[in-house]
């Protein structure tokens, strides 16, 4: 076998992800060209705010999908943590930080519970999380029967605008005017948050034995077991981390909207969109192939499509239809696999 150059090999092994990045780039550049105020910080801030929550939830969905399952509770966990955050994110700074911590802990614990149910209860992820998702919504409704909440205004402003505004709000870096801040001043804070979570949490996870076991399970669980990998631990870790990402989404949503809302329909829509984003980002629903970074890209593609409706003056009623077509076209690429199968029985395995 010829050795491929490393970039060729990367491309070969990550076709789905590369396609998604290309699609996103084309869509987003075109969008900015069509937009009257395209390529401006204001547009970028608005877009990133709208994409942040779904991006986190899509990352959350990635882990169960890599295992070969689905998590139907990600939207509900996001909603639950959103409601928790809307109660806790106020008061002095230490209290706000504690509130953030508790919010993230809620989601993480919920994910941990999902993992334990799947591993020790031996229940398929899809049905286990269907049930726990309903529980999460129930808890959210107990915490916040009516939409509303009390989120610190400064926090809300600082985290949903540019780096300059962040520094300005908290009087850092000479109120945002420091010379060294200039190169970053226009970057939207949500972008930094997402990149931070992805790099600080996902990348190390992927390079741990637990993370690799998640891929091995999705790819060939029997072989993973035979190789002596920690299967139970990896499954629990995957769901736990999924809960953490979903909580990041809920936390951000609370900060962005300054409120919490136990909205059942919103939770369902986020769950379904997260699955769409995961697939668009090149992760296989059969498990074993893909990454949370891909799902991030997939989530952004979904959002950029919706931005087009605003500037092109298309009837918003058409939005679900067009999103559906895009998703269908994207997943059809995955179906080419079946054309290469030599033993038709393999199609059913």
């Amino acid at each position: 076998m010829m050795r491929k150059a490393s970039w060729q090999r990367w491309l070969y092994q990550n076709v789905g992800f590369a396609t998604a990045v290309l699609l996103l780039t084309v869509l987003y550049l075109t969008y900015n060209m069509l937009h009257p105020r395209g390529f401006s910080s204001a547009v970028a801030i608005q877009n990133s705010n709208e994409a942040a929550a779904i991006a986190f939830v899509a990352m959350a969905q990635t882990l169960p999908v890599l295992l070969g399952g689905l998590d139907l509770s990600v939207g509900a966990v996001m909603t639950l943590t959103n409601c928790v955050a809307s109660e806790l994110l106020n008061g002095p700074a230490w209290q706000i930080l504690l509130g953030m911590f508790l919010t993230l802990l809620t989601g993480t614990a919920f994910g941990f519970m999902n993992g334990c149910i799947v591993v020790y209860g031996r229940i398929q992820p899809i049905i286990a999380t269907l049930a726990t998702g309903a529980i999460a919504i129930g808890l959210a409704l107990l915490i916040r029967p009516k939409p509303g909440g009390n989120v610190d205004d400064d926090l809300s402003w600082a985290l949903t605008n540019s780096v300059y505004d962040f520094a300005d709000t908290y009087g850092l870096a000479e109120g945002g005017d420091a010379w060294w801040l200039r190169p970053f001043a226009d970057i939207p804070v949500p972008v930094i948050l997402i990149v931070f979570v992805a790099v600080a949490v996902w990348v190390p996870f992927r390079r741990s034995v637990t993370g690799r076991t998640v891929y091995a399970i999705g790819s060939a669980e029997g072989a993973a077991y035979m190789s002596g990998l920690p299967i139970d631990r990896a499954k629990i870790a995957a769901f736990t981390l999924g809960g953490f990402f979903a909580a990041c989404g809920g936390l951000y949503l609370a900060i962005q909207t300054s409120s919490g809302n136990a909205d059942i329909q919103q939770a369902g829509a986020y769950t379904l969109n997260s699955i769409a984003a995961v697939v668009l980002g090149g992760t296989s629903l059969l498990g074993g192939v893909g990454s949370a970074i891909g799902s991030l890209v997939g989530a952004m593609i979904l959002r950029v499509i919706s931005f087009y409706f605003r500037i092109l003056d298309i009837d918003p009623l058409l939005q679900p239809l067009i999103e559906g077509v895009v998703l269908l076209v994207a997943v059809s690429f995955g179906a080419f696999r079946t054309l290469r199968v030599k033993n038709q029985l393999d199609l059913f395995r």
Binding site: M1, R3, K4, S6, R9, Q13, P204, R207, S208, V209, R212, Y215, A216, G218, S219, A220, G222, A223, A224, Y225, M226, S227, G228, L229, G288, V289, V341, K342, N343, Q344, L345
Partner: protein
């Protein structure tokens, strides 16, 4: 044997009451290459699965370097230095070669997997097995089967084994790689590592091993040093002299011109690297056996004839048609109908949770329907007839099929296909794991069907069945027919010898 590195005392293992291993004593010395021989189902696989921690013995004791041990998981066996390479590979297809080689204990830096060190380690181990051509960063999925097997070997070596178990490790290798494996095993032997070598290739065993153990029917028959016994004696040990089930009388062989019409003729059938040019002919009224060791292409051949495989090459003539069926649906309809009784009744043969009646009807709905609707009267009549004909013992035909015994389940599968009124019946090891009484009924049924003018192609891993049931037997080896035997020329010795592809002439 106090110098043994591993020793097993009184190991027994049963599956649903059927004996897989009984009271086996077995030991292996450091620095030896020890072959385990036996027919299909002799208990070799069960033994190594117990050694590797995949199965737990029902009785008996394991000693490692003189100390009693138990291996509840493969991980525990690995940690103790017993490393097994299984026939079905234990590689993860979507991870890279380097990932796979260091899968459970990768090199780490700051708690995270150190990819550079991992690639270096993979390169080093691949160099040891002389596979520098394998790119450590390639995905296992991208590699051919023989390359994967070499990666598997590199992975096993990387675990620092005290005992290395190779289960058919060379079955997919090229001859150059086989030589590499030989050299490697010799090196390991010099280092005092024990290798257990399971192979169906007699010449490999001869070239490589210093000690041989023969298993038969779940029992350890004998262990001896290489050269103590001739190939013929070894074959005899493997067969044993057990009395086998009774078979219905075979009709006397007829001269070619009086035989039934040729229903199926295949020339040079090829599929991937599993089937390498098979010639076969099947006439009305005859039972043709497929012999050989497991995994020589028999199952693939049946699947190919039934239209399951794609891109099959060769010349075909099946009831006047020059093509193979394109799918099972096409195979079971048309002028010359084909039925396949599959190997695994639990997944491919039956819908376990559904009623017996629905299972029986599953392949022949068109026969009991009026227009788009199933006629319940016709359906009931057909079901009752078939239950009667095969004497299936049931409570009610509405019970789920999983409530039946294995033998009756198998009868349901066979009955289901007989209801389609096939001309050609392909049987894939139909008597595996069922009781002797039902086996005899199935043999009788096969002969009755042949007498009715059907053509039967019968794969069995049990040589006695092939001898007792078949008019002709084709023995497959490495995807080719290596021997065709007819009538009285079919003997256990000739079948075993042909299966191992060694040249002992039948007595």
């Amino acid at each position: 044997m106090s110098d043994a590195i591993v020793e097993y005392r009184g190991i027994s293992k049963f599956f649903a009451g059927i004996r897989a291993l009984e009271d086996v004593d077995f030991a292996c010395r450091p620095g030896s290459i020890h072959a385990i021989l036996g027919e299909n189902g002799a208990g070799k696989s069960t033994l190594i699965k117990i050694m590797a921690g995949v199965l737990q013995p029902d009785a008996g004791q394991m000693l490692l370097e003189g100390k009693p041990v138990t291996f509840p998981t493969p991980q525990a066996a690995n940690d103790a230095g017993i490393v097994c390479m299984f026939q079905e590979l234990s590689l993860v297809p979507d991870l890279s070669v380097a990932d796979n080689i260091s899968i459970s204990k990768p090199p780490r830096r700051f708690g995270l997997i150190d990819r550079r060190a991992q690639v270096a380690r993979a390169e080093e181990l691949l160099a040891q097995v002389r596979c520098e051509d394998i790119d450590p960063n390639a995905l296992v999925r991208e590699l051919s089967l023989s390359r994967r097997q070499m990666v598997e070997i590199a992975k096993a070596i990387g675990r620092d084994p005290k005992v290395l178990i190779l289960d058919e490790a060379t079955s997919a290798l090229t001859s150059r790689d086989v030589q590499t494996v030989y050299d490697l095993l010799a090196e390991l032997k010099a280092k005092g590592i024990a290798s257990l070598f399971i192979s169906h290739r007699m010449h490999e065993v001869d070239a490589l091993c210093d000690t041989l153990s023969v298993f038969r029917n779940g029992q350890h028959i004998e262990t001896f040093a290489k050269g103590e016994k001739s190939e013929r004696e070894i074959v005899r040990l493997m067969i044993g002299r057990d009395v086998e089930a009774q078979f219905p009388p075979k009709p006397a062989p007829k001269p070619v011109e009086e035989r039934g019409e040729e229903l199926l003729s295949v020339r040079g059938l090829k599929w991937g690297n599993r089937l390498n040019g098979i010639d076969l002919s099947l006439r009305r009224g005859e039972i043709v056996g497929l012999g050989g060791l497991d995994g020589q292409g028999q199952k693939e051949l049946l699947l190919a004839l039934f239209g399951v495989l794609r891109d099959v090459e060769g010349e075909f003539l099946i009831g006047g048609r020059k093509r193979l069926a394109s799918s099972p649906a096409a195979a079971k309809s048309g002028r010359t109908r084909i039925a396949l009784v599959p190997e695994d009744r639990k997944t491919e043969g039956l819908m376990l949770g559904m009623p017996i009646a629905d299972n029986l009807l599953a392949a022949s709905f068109s026969k009991i329907s009026r227009g788009p609707l199933i006629d319940p009267l016709l359906a009931r009549k057909a079901v009752d007839e078939e239950i009667e004909r095969l004497r299936i013992k049931i409570g009610s035909s509405a019970d789920p099929v999983m409530t039946l015994s294995g033998g009756n389940q198998q009868k349901v599968v066979i009955a289901k296909w007989l209801m389609t009124d096939p001309d050609i019946i392909l049987l894939n090891d139909p008597t595996r794991g069922i009781d002797v009484g039902t086996k005899q009924e199935i043999y009788r049924l096969m002969r009755e069907l042949a007498n009715e003018g059907k053509a039967i192609l019968f794969y069995s891993s049990d040589y006695a069945e092939l001898i007792g049931c078949c008019d002709r037997v084709s023995v497959l080896y490495a995807g080719r027919v290596v021997s065709e035997q007819e009538g009285d020329a079919i003997t256990e010795e000739s079948l075993v010898a042909a299966s191992l592809n060694i040249g002992i002439e039948a007595a």
